[in-house]
Amino acid sequence: MPKQGSLLAYTVSRLILALPTLLVLLTVLFLVLRILPGDPISALEAGRRSTRDIAADKARLGLNLPWWVQYPVYLSQVFSGNFGTSLGQIYLGQPVLQVILQKLPATIELATGAMLVATLVGVGTGIIAGSRRDRPPDIVVRLYGSIIWVIPVFWLGLMLQLVFAVGLHWFPPNLRYEPDPVFFPPPSHLTGLYTLDSLLEGRIDKLAISLAHLALPSLTLGLVLSGFFTRTVRANLLRTINSDYVEAARARGIRERYIVYRYAFRNALIPVVTILGLQFAILFAGAVLTERTFSWDGMGTLLLTSIDSRDYPMIQGTVIVYAIIIVAISVVIDVINGFIDPRVRY
């Protein structure tokens, strides 16, 4: 089975290549966080603390050492998962990684929901527009694609809250779960993903509540991202639907629905999968605002809180975890791409 074999080989090669990428990324983060002029502790604390306090803080974090000493320590910290303990008041003394792992599931859930919305809406509208070029649905969808892209996330969030939570009472306005743990005990903590935990517990009612809470934030973030998908899918579909292989397939008498699916759509999807990876970076940025709008207790909120409380180890930990996630996602995207497009496997 050469096909499977080469996909496996390709996956392995992507994983091996991800390591240097991660190293490059971590090194650049190191440069940004520690070496560039104005080290973070000074930047965060100067003007408020005595110089002695700041020097003590720096010494405690090892930031007073020369960079060639800091760098290996930093790398070993990253790879051993030891990001130190929080210096902010709210999480004072708690291990950074532990706090991050508490908040990560909330963001993963939001990101997944948003990506789902973005791809479903984006690909759906893109197909509608691409297959009805210059007709009214296409014009409407093109307008949508341009407008949704420039709408600020928090404004859209607020509008959705007003319409669907306050006006129609379809969805709760904010938080990850009902605020009343007596009537609505949250699912037991297994993975931290409320939807998954509900399923593992076998409680459909809890799943429904988790999904209802996930709906508006996912919709907010997903819709904003969907505009990009809409336009990419539309453009690609127009390209593939007029392509030579579609014409040739038609000349061979292939059924129209196969032509649309196997020829036009699958080929149109390849660039979309590639931009999906890039979209994740934008997604995380958008998630910070979305989490704030919906009082969603995830990584974005944590990052804001950490900046607010000048919690340097927490800021560094959060950013590194973001970086690792994005590298991981890019590997996954590459493998998916390899799966659907044989050309990239070679």
């Binding site: 992507r14 290549l17 240097p20 990428t21 490059v24 990324l25 650049v28 983060l29 940004v32 966080l33 104005g38 080290d39 000074s42 930047a43 965060l44 100067a46 003007g47 408020r48 603390r49 110089t51 306090d53 700041i54 020097a55 902010g88 008041q89 709210i90 003394g93 607020l158 939570a165 306050v166 009472h169 709760p172 306005p173 904010n174 938080l175 605020p179 009343d180 743990p181 007596v182 990876g277 890039l278 970076a281 940025a285 704030r292 709008t293 919906f294 009082s295 207790d297 809180t305 900046i307 607010d308 409380s309 000048r310 800021i315 973001y322 590298v327 890019s330 590997v331 590459d334 990239v344």
Partner: protein
């Protein structure tokens, strides 16, 4: 295909770098010839705070002499920082701890109090006046001292009083027992027919639930539900009732004739919820703990100075061992408001096993370590997210308010307090009945909107005058605010009316003294800042004072800069 991943990585890094760069730029220390105004960014005073800071910035900059940078941080860090003296110029609020005008004077103008406020102001004359004022019970004598204190405060300007806020709470219209009490907001007298619990939303976040450290409204208010004090307040006003003590000491019956000895009789058989004992020794140990720890930013000075217990308090427990119910406080001088202070959270007894070398941590390895004796226990705590108060089934005093038509407390078996990131989230939650009550802090716009739709939503909106005052604090030990002319210049520059009308849409009242008019007993308030600086801003005077001080400003700024470069 490595290149795509690398491009991806670079994109991510650029995004992160821009973000961090922005954060660094925004948080960077002020350049020379400018001052920095700090404010809380996490809703402790509602989300009007940035707007207030902006207005004050504009008013000061109208002098053309200084630029004002704005900086903000979360509440817990803010408290810790100003207590350490890390904030030179910042916005603060004050909610009274006890029912006496002194509570607007001692905490600010006594040397110890000013330290807790981050002003580090010290004036021996002021300290003397305060000692005299607290020792007296004669309104005329006290009035004279309060007048002198206030007049001097307008000359020294360690604080600039700005406005008093309103108090507000929005709740399901069938909830009973909601009172905007001037000191303690009592959840334990609330009821909702057909429910055994309510959920409350807030934008507040606590600093600590250790009585020895907590000194902000939200934390102390939770402490007041979880811990009882020797004396407690009536449901709706400031009259004291016996709490852990069997009766309120009065002159001749518990208070010595010279006013320097206070004797309390504890109720027998008191315990904390974990079963550990609560007797005269426990009370003594708890008071000593607060004073010996003397945590930064705590209300320790209330015990040590205001209540005149001194650095090493003399507290007798004559019938220990044995029943161990009598506790005798020996004060360094007579204090008229000692009973009031014994009703404040800082005087709440804590179990013997509480950390004696530092603040008790609220949560250790996921377990809540807050143990009290009050009507509720804090059973669950998720930082920055949720606080659950559960009925203390062994509460020693369920009939506390039976004389007020409340046969037994607490009524509801659970109070669940959820934190929301801002006023609009809080408003949405109450509007959609996600929560039963929104307490602190809705911004004026949201409050007005809720007032309009309350009836149709089956909500009640209570708005009352609040004893909370808002003001600016100078750390008088740091340049350039160690120059009184700079502080006076800013006192000339601020425009209170503009803040009240533009930010609060009238839901606030201008304030010209740290003592607000008309709260507790005789009105000792005197609008000294109006007298000294006028009722509207005087930019010309502010400008000339800044000019007079300018040489000093630039010199000190240069020094700070040089110092920083030293270790950069």
């Amino acid at each position: 295909m490595l290149s795509r991943t690398v491009i991806l990585a670079i994109v991510v890094i650029v995004i992160l770098a821009v973000g961090i760069g922005a954060a660094v730029v925004l948080l960077r220390p002020a350049p020379a010839a400018s001052i920095t105004l700090w404010y809380n960014s996490t809703g402790h005073y509602g989300d009007t705070e940035p707007a207030v800071a902006q207005l004050i910035k504009a008013q000061i900059e109208a002098t053309g002499k200084v630029t004002v940078n704005l900086q903000s941080e979360d509440w817990a860090s803010y408290r810790a920082d100003f207590a350490k003296g890390n904030l030179p110029f910042f916005l603060l609020g004050w909610y009274p701890d006890y029912f006496d005008t002194d509570d607007y004077v001692s905490p600010f103008y006594s040397t110890a109090g000013a330290q807790s406020e981050g002003a580090f102001y010290t004036n021996a004359t002021m300290d003397k006046w305060i000692t005299n004022e607290t020792a007296s019970v004669d309104p005329t004598v006290r009035g004279a001292y309060f007048q002198q204190l206030q007049t001097q405060s307008a000359k020294d300007v360690p604080y600039i009083p700005l406005w008093t806020t309103n108090a507000h709470v929005v709740y399901d219209s069938d909830i009973t027992g909601v009172f905007l009490h001037p000191v303690v907001f009592k959840y334990f007298i609330m009821n909702k027919p057909g429910f055994d619990h309510i959920t409350v939303g807030t934008t507040d976040s606590p600093t600590s639930f250790d009585p020895a450290l907590a000194y902000d409204y939200f934390s102390t208010n939770i402490i007041n539900q979880v811990f009882d004090t020797l004396l407690v307040y009536e449901p709706t006003n400031g009259t004291l009732l016996p709490g852990l003590a069997a009766q309120v000491p009065t002159v001749g019956n518990g208070i010595s004739a010279d006013g320097k000895t206070y004797t309390f009789q504890l109720r027998p058989g008191l315990t904390f919820t974990d079963g550990s004992s609560l007797n005269a020794t426990t009370v003594k140990r708890a008071i000593q703990r607060v004073i010996s720890l003397n945590l930064q930013g705590s209300a320790e000075f209330l015990l040590e100075q205001v209540a005149a217990l001194g650095k090493t308090p003399t507290i007798d427990t004559p019938n220990c061992p044995g029943p161990c119910t009598t506790i005798v406080f020996h004060l360094l001088q007579p204090v008229g408001l000692f009973n009031q202070i014994m009703a404040f959270s800082v005087a709440a007894p804590v179990p013997w096993w509480y950390n004696q070398t530092g603040a008790q941590q609220d949560v250790v390895n996921g377990n809540v370590k807050v143990t009290g004796d009050g009507p509720y226990s804090l059973t669950s705590l998720t930082s920055n997210q949720q606080y659950v108060l559960q009925k203390n089934t062994n509460y020693y005093n369920p009939g506390l308010y039976s004389a007020f038509g409340i046969p037994t407390i607490p009524i509801l078996s659970k109070i669940i307090i959820n934190r929301y990131s801002d006023s609009s989230s809080l408003k949405l939650a109450i509007q959609t009945h996600q929560i039963n009550m929104a307490y602190r802090t809705l911004n004026p716009t949201d409050l007005t909107a809720l007032q309009g739709s309350a009836a149709s939503l089956n909500l009640k909106v209570d708005i009352g005058t609040s004893p909370q005052i808002r003001f600016l604090v100078f750390n008088v030990k740091t340049a350039p605010f160690n120059d009184v002319r700079v502080r006076q210049a800013i006192a000339y520059a601020v425009d209170r009316s503009s803040i009240v009308s533009n930010v609060f849409h009238g839901f606030a009242v201008t304030l010209y003294s740290m003592v607000p008019p008309g709260f507790f007993g005789p009105d000792y308030s005197s609008p000294v800042f109006q007298t000294a600086y006028g009722s509207s801003p005087d930019v010309a005077k502010a400008t000339s004072l800044f000019s007079a001080a300018s040489l000093a400003i630039s010199l000190s700024m240069f020094q700070t800069d040089a110092l920083e470069r030293n270790w950069l």
